[in-house]
């Protein structure tokens, strides 16, 4: 092996170790959606938004639906709203929709919230928490991706960067029927 080849190999090896080490040390994680095993049917709901318009999940059959459970008092829920809005601006013309379901708060509370966090996608009111109790949610925020057939395809607990190109690409593939089999990281939903 020549000196140049040895040096190149050494540099490559060190660069690889450096990259892996920094990734682990910083705790960085890519925006991750977790495929749900067997894709159970999403529980149906009919909820009013802050303008009183009723939204049924089944009205959106044929589209990819991002169903986000949140509340105004929940810091990470507030944190991800701007990124959801920016994602919405990119996907609203692509047969994809975001429905953000507030748990237990009234329209006045949410209306006040939107003064600081303006969003254009529907904010629905689950006033008596009946809907969230039918979904496999244990903490806020939790978000589900419902496929065009009305099945839960992905889940995320905690915030995500919703405008991340890789994440949006996943949603587009789901809409185009390019993601049929959940990958190996699939998980079962909690009871």
């Amino acid at each position: 092996m020549t000196a140049n080849k040895a040096q190149t190999l050494l540099f490559s090896l060190l660069l690889m170790i450096f990259t892996i080490t920094r990734s682990i040390a910083s705790g960085d994680s890519p925006a991750t959606l977790h495929a749900v095993a067997d894709r159970p049917m999403a529980p149906e709901f009919a909820l009013a938004d802050i303008d009183g318009v009723i939204h049924r999940l089944s009205d959106y059959r044929g589209q990819v639906v991002i169903v986000n459970f949140w509340a105004t008092w929940c810091p990470p829920c507030r944190e991800e709203m701007p990124s959801m809005q920016r994602a919405w601006e990119q996907i609203q013309d692509e047969a994809m929709v975001i429905l953000a379901i507030d748990v237990g708060e009234d329209a006045d509370t949410i209306f006040t919230f939107t003064a600081d966090y303006p969003v254009e996608f529907p904010l629905l009111l689950d006033l008596d928490s009946r809907v969230i109790q039918e979904w496999p949610v244990r903490g806020l925020p939790t978000t589900f991706i419902v496929d065009p057939q009305g099945r839960i395809a992905y889940r995320a607990i905690g915030t995500r960067d919703w405008e991340d190109p890789a994440l949006l690409d996943t949603l587009r593939k789901l809409h185009n029927g390019q993601v049929e089999t959940p990958p190996a990281t699939s998980n079962e939903l909690p009871d």
């Binding site: 000196a3 060190l14 977790h34 244990r138 905690g158």
Partner: protein, 215 residues
């Protein structure tokens, strides 16, 4: 002889590059990833104390909440003053639990019912959603307030995929200013991990008075 001299020159070049780079690399690995997973500190903005576990795939952090913070939070969500005060005096912490693995990593699970609080020579469990539900039932708390309360608490049991996390409150059933040790555990890829926070302090019930600037 010529070959031997050439090889020696190559080794010298190799060491000139490798040694500084390896030193740089080692210096960039943070102490937290190789040392004690338990940290304790103070939030600069508030002066409140936190206890943190960062290691073996998990980040778990308890941050003090002043009783007045808890009273104000829940009185804005349908609690009467007596119920808000009762809750606030039960040692409430803001809590974060996160699976810190990168994509493709292990699943992580915890169960608050398996954790133990040691204080004043006794051992007890946390006040979970289920235990509080019985208390609120007995005290006749309104449904709206109970909904807000239930979703404000850290889930009693949770399973996290990589990058999943929750924020929520935890309650330890002790008087303001009490000290306790917490034994906690979680499962990661089928292996149980145990940790302990020692000398955790329930936030004191302080009521700062306005300062008289005329003096």
């Amino acid at each position: 002889m010529i070959n031997s001299s050439h090889a020696k020159k190559q080794r010298t070049q190799y060491h000139r590059i490798a040694v500084p780079l390896l030193s740089l690399l080692c210096g960039l690995i943070p102490a937290a990833s190789v040392g004690n997973p338990v940290n304790q500190g103070t939030v600069p903005e508030t002066g409140l104390h936190f206890w943190e576990w960062r290691g073996q795939g998990a980040l778990f952090r308890l941050t003090q909440r002043l009783p007045d913070q808890t009273r104000a939070f829940f009185m804005a969500r349908g609690f009467g003053s007596k119920d808000a005060d009762f809750l606030a005096r039960n040692c409430v912490f803001q809590t974060l639990f996160e699976n810190t693995d990168a994509a493709g990593g292990a699943t992580l699970e915890y169960d608050l019912d398996a954790w133990t609080v040691h204080a004043q020579g006794t051992a007890q469990g946390l006040l979970t959603r289920e235990r509080w539900s019985d208390i609120w039932e007995a005290r006749g708390l309104s449904q709206a307030a109970r909904i807000a309360f239930e979703w404000s608490l850290l889930p009693t049991r949770q399973r996290y995929q990589p990058a999943d996390y929750n924020w929520g409150m935890t309650s330890f059933g002790l008087e303001p200013g009490s000290r306790f040790d917490l034994d906690f555990s979680y499962q990661r890829a089928g292996t149980r991990h145990n940790g302990r926070f020692e000398g955790v302090e329930c936030p004191p019930d302080v009521h700062p008075e306005p300062q008289d600037d005329r003096k």
